[in-house]
Amino acid sequence: MKPNVRLAGKGIGAIMYREMRLFFGNSMTVVLSVASPVIYMALFSTSLNGLMPTMTYAGVSVPYIRFALPGLLIMSALSNVLVTSQSIFNEHLSNMLLDILSTPVQHSAYMIGKILAGASLAFIQSMLVFASGVLIFRVPVGLTRFLGICVLTIPICLALSGLYMTALGLVKNIRAFILTTNILTNVIMFGSSIFYPTASIPSALRPIALINPATYCVDVIRDFLLGRVEPKSVAIVCVLAVLLTAAALVVFRRRFAEV
């Protein structure tokens, strides 16, 4: 292996290791990241499940909590990638980015490390949501489907990480970034099939749902959970993961060419 490639690999590994240390080194972060999806799940299963005991999806009537579980999984992943992408801004402001980029770690290694770390943490959190849905709220799912959803969550987390990191590169300061990501998160959540089926999305929001990566991410998991495998949807999610990761890399290199 070429020395530069080996060094880039080590850089990515070191960035991921650092992110994990920062996450798991803070017990409050760990507790909150486990608690918040469970609280969401409890709220959904009590309030919304009471209002809408069942939901019709793809012509089939399903309990609302079963319908909502993939959406909660995506929301949980979204909150995690949001934190990771915000950390890049904080590192820029605190000069940590300057210190890191003064080592052999290059922009691409830093960004890939961040995306992979963000996606890994989002994956862990999503799996906790999913596990709590299955174990606490009795959402029925077999082992094969559970494992399939685990695998599918990887490109989904990569796609969402890439989306937020790209947004990060397009704005100039932390205030603008927070406002942008707040708007983006709301548009992603309400302009997709997280809370309701695509068919029920208000007509004004439908064009947004069509270009919204979250729509494809939620639907592919929902289909899988309900026993329908759509190869086209899986392919779309994988393509989104690659495209959005590449976009994040390009935008980050341009945005932070100088630190």
């Binding site: 060094l7 850089g11 070191a14 650092r18 920062l22 080592t103 052999p104």
Partner: protein, 309 residues
């Protein structure tokens, strides 16, 4: 050799931070950069490191250019930035091991070097402490240890001893001297002029993005002749006395601070005799006289025509 060739940096707002700077640092040399705030020192060091991109010109360290081979260039470099950052919640050891990984060091090597450097900087007892519990001076030492972790060929030090007490400053420099290879390069900026004078082989004085003086500390000091003489008087000097002293031909500058008259003169003995005579004629008593040889600080002040801030 570290070569800096015709380096120009113009920011998008039109500010020209560097205006065609060129110099070379030889193998084994400790090269100091002095200048008032805003002279372009930090911009120069960031350009040398490649984290800022030059508008024109280039930097090369033994043939490796930071703009063409950034990873290879930075493998050779250890950096202490003026405002370095840490992962505050992580321990000192964790911070160092993460940077060891960034530099491509193996775990075992990082562990050995970390233990050694923490011992040298007298921080072994703080190894497991989160960095946020450390004082400013201790953090600066950790930053220095981080820069020295991988035995870099080129040390880039931007205000490396800022915030350290005099004892720790001396200790830091003795460790830097001890750790560097005979063939390694050091490029250093500092507002502690005495530190630069004591430790650097050559010094460049910068002002407004250009070089205004370059040489060994001794040559630079020798280049400005004369002495500084301070007269402590029994009262604030009246205008008539100041005018009389200004009229003396051997006085190149005069500064009044309360009851002290500070002069730069070519011949100290002659000045003491003449100024004492002027004071006596105006009924002013001279309480004491202090004579100082010119220092690098005087060179800096004279070369830039400004005060240090």
């Amino acid at each position: 050799m570290l070569e800096v060739v015709n380096l120009v940096k113009r920011y998008p707002n039109g500010t020209e931070a560097l205006k065609g700077l060129s110099f070379a640092v030889g193998s084994g040399e400790i090269f100091g950069v002095l200048g008032p705030n805003g002279a372009g020192k930090t911009t120069l060091l960031k350009l040398v490191l490649g984290v800022l991109l030059p508008t024109s010109g280039f930097v090369s360290l033994e043939g490796v250019r930071p703009d063409q081979s950034p990873a290879a260039f930075r493998r050779m470099v250890g950096v202490v930035h003026q405002y370095g950052a840490f992962d505050m919640a992580l321990s000192v050891v964790d911070n160092l091991s993460i940077f060891g990984a960034f530099q491509g060091l193996g775990r075992a090597e990082t562990r050995v070097r970390t233990a050694y450097l923490l011992d040298r900087f007298e921080l072994s007892a703080k190894a497991k402490e989160p960095v946020q519990n450390l004082s400013g001076g201790q953090r600066r030492k950790v930053q220095l240890a981080r820069a020295l972790l991988h035995r870099p060929k080129f040390l880039f030090l931007d205000e490396p001893t800022a915030g350290l007490d005099p004892f720790s400053r001396r200790m830091a420099w003795s460790i830097i001297m001890e750790e560097r290879e005979p063939s390694s390069y050091v490029l250093c900026t500092s507002h502690y002029v005495d530190e630069i004078e004591r430790n650097c082989d050559r010094v460049m004085i910068m002002d407004q993005g250009t070089e205004v003086a370059l040489g060994t500390p001794k040559n630079l000091v020798d280049s400005i002749s004369g002495h500084r003489v301070e007269f402590n008087l029994d009262r604030c000097p009246p205008d008539a006395l100041i005018a009389a002293v200004e009229g003396l031909s051997g006085v190149s500058s005069i500064e009044v601070s309360a009851s002290t008259l500070k002069l730069r003169v070519a011949d100290a003995e002659w000045a003491i005799a003449k100024v004492t005579e002027c004071c006596f004629s105006q009924g002013i008593r001279v309480n004491s006289v202090v004579t100082k040889r010119a220092s690098l600080e005087d060179v800096l002040l004279q070369a830039t025509g400004r005060e240090l801030s």
